[in-house]
């Protein structure tokens, strides 16, 4: 492994995620997680619904308490960072709805400058030109004056990504950024994230159940399954070893390594008996 500068990674050590319950012990989703997010790479947290992708992401942001273990930003433990300090290390794109009647796209993006702004929060000329430039780059400049809640889901995600960019943090965490976005929009967004990791050297963490985006755009996958199992690795390796199939295990559905798609086993057998057995069992 290369020797990294200390301020360029988020490290998870022996982390347990899950929920504390009022009755009985905590409900553990995963334990013993040891993972690293470096700057300049896109990492996708991939898994079926309910596997705990968002929970891991939210735990890494301090929204949920870890059941055990440590999260380190630049060797500083997450729970020793103030909210203010954390806001200069990681920016977020969440699934939370912004449904204010009057907030404009530009105003939403300007909040990305809050960690640096004055006490009054009045945007400086630099803030405004930074947001304008970023809108240009992301391709949402024409939306700037519109009311945010009226945008399409794809447009909203792009604006929220622009907002994360102007927050100027080494890391960006995104929760299901392409969930309600149409296929061309998905590609555009994942492309944009990839560009950000390369050009601006950002570490990008994406929780998603969209297998296609994850396989095509991630430098590393963190696979989370139900039953507390987890794996990490390069997309190609995980596909080749058949692990993907194991994590998305459903009866009668399997993952086709060749075309990166899930298929209905019965149908494939019927249509193409030559495929019976063999690769689907990985």
């Amino acid at each position: 492994m290369n020797i990294e500068r200390v301020d360029e990674k988020v490290e998870i050590r022996n982390l347990s995620t899950g929920f504390r319950r009022k009755k009985g012990g905590p409900r553990i989703l995963h334990q013993g997680l040891n993972l690293v997010l470096n700057r300049g790479e896109v990492v996708c947290i991939l898994g079926p619904n309910g596997a705990g992708k968002s929970t891991l992401l939210r735990t890494m942001l301090g929204f949920e308490k870890a059941l055990g273990g440590k999260i380190l930003f630049s060797d500083q433990p997450l729970d020793e960072l103030s909210v203010k300090e954390l806001s200069r290390k990681v920016s977020v794109v969440l699934t939370d709805k912004i449904d204010d009647f009057y907030l404009t796209v530009f105003e939403v993006a300007l909040t990305g400058r809050y960690p640096y702004g004055s006490f009054s929060g009045k945007p400086t000329r630099e803030d405004i030109s930074l947001v304008t430039d970023t809108f240009q780059k992301v391709g949402v400049l024409q939306l700037a004056g519109q009311v945010f809640y009226k945008l399409s889901d794809g447009e909203k995600q792009k604006v929220m990504i622009a907002r994360a960019i102007v927050q100027d943090t080494p890391f960006i965490f995104l929760d299901e950024p392409v969930a309600y976005v149409d296929p061309p929009g998905k590609i555009a967004i994942m492309h944009l994230l990839k560009d950000l990791s390369v050009e601006l050297n950002k570490g990008i963490l994406v929780a998603t159940h969209d297998l296609e985006s994850a396989l095509n755009y991630s430098d590393e996958l963190w696979l989370l399954g139900t039953d507390r199992k987890w794996r990490k690795g390069k997309a190609a390796e995980l596909v080749e070893s058949g692990l993907i199939n194991e994590f998305f295990d459903r009866e009668a559905i399997s993952f086709n390594k060749k075309n990166h798609r899930f298929e209905w086993k019965e149908m494939r057998k019927r249509e193409n008996p030559a495929l019976k057995g063999g690769e689907t069992d990985g």
Binding site: S91, I98, F101, Y102, T111, K150
Partner: protein, 346 residues
Amino acid sequence: MRPNVNTAFWYLIFSALLLILFLSNLWYGSVLIPWHKVMSVLSGNVNEAETARVIVLEYRLPQAVTSLATGIALGVAGLLLQTLFRNPLAGPSVLGISSGASLGVALVVLLGAGVGYDVLSSGNPFSEVGLVAAALLGALVVLMIILFVSNRVGNVVTVLIIGIMIGYAVSAVVGMLQFFSRAEELHAYVLWGLGSFSKTNWQQSVFLLLTALLGILLTLFLLKPMNGLLLGDHYARSIGINVRNVKSFMILIAGLLIAVSTAFTGPIAFVGLAVPHLAKGFFRTSNHRILIPAVILMGGSLTLFCNLVAKLPGYDTSLPINAVTSMIGAPVVVYVIVKRGRMKKA
């Protein structure tokens, strides 16, 4: 974004409107006093007729100041609540916070009489402190309950219904207290409960205005975090806002403003709910930096206007102020609900 020049221009217009309404309140009433005499009295001319001086300075001026201060206090409090709960239907009266303050007042007035603690008769400065403290306590308790509930259910309408239920529960408790209290205190409490801008003396109206100004001053510290809260708690936190501290601070300010104004004027319906919507709708923004001045000017103007309307019949007694504010406020609630419905469909 609306250019600043435009906003400043409208501030000026609304300031002028506020001034005109304030002076109209001094001029208009059951007794006719010409403009020049009102001005003469205001400029401190002691040679004016004693009756004119008494009417303008002892009655109309405190009443106008009380109207103004209540409009400002409730308007700012309503804006704080709407941002706090991210709920466009939040307001002092609809969430039962005024009811909480009422319960505090009822306990002091109706039970206090039993132990020889006579509050609503003026002249006893200690009793006013007790009244405000009781109202504040009641308002804060209800605010805490509503905040707790809204964190759990999050649904705008559910929270509203719970607020209304709290209002009913408080009425029930007050009803029981009334059963056990003497006619005198009961009468005083019922009168207070109708709401009025005309029962305050000089000191009270000034105290009310100072409280409103204090509330505004404290709110100025929160402009940035409140704008951040418009994105929701998680986003607010991610941009470095200490959400819990900011919210606690907002609760305290809103509670103080509602409690003090309610203690002196009785519960005033719909002003706190309607004013922020009028400001947001007019300036088409949710930016608190623009809204706070707008809410102050429009809130003050609205209550001064309502007070004028209440005096319209021209008799010694005026219309109940709540009847007037409800006439204006209730349509605003309907408008917001309809607009929200349309927004969700779009």
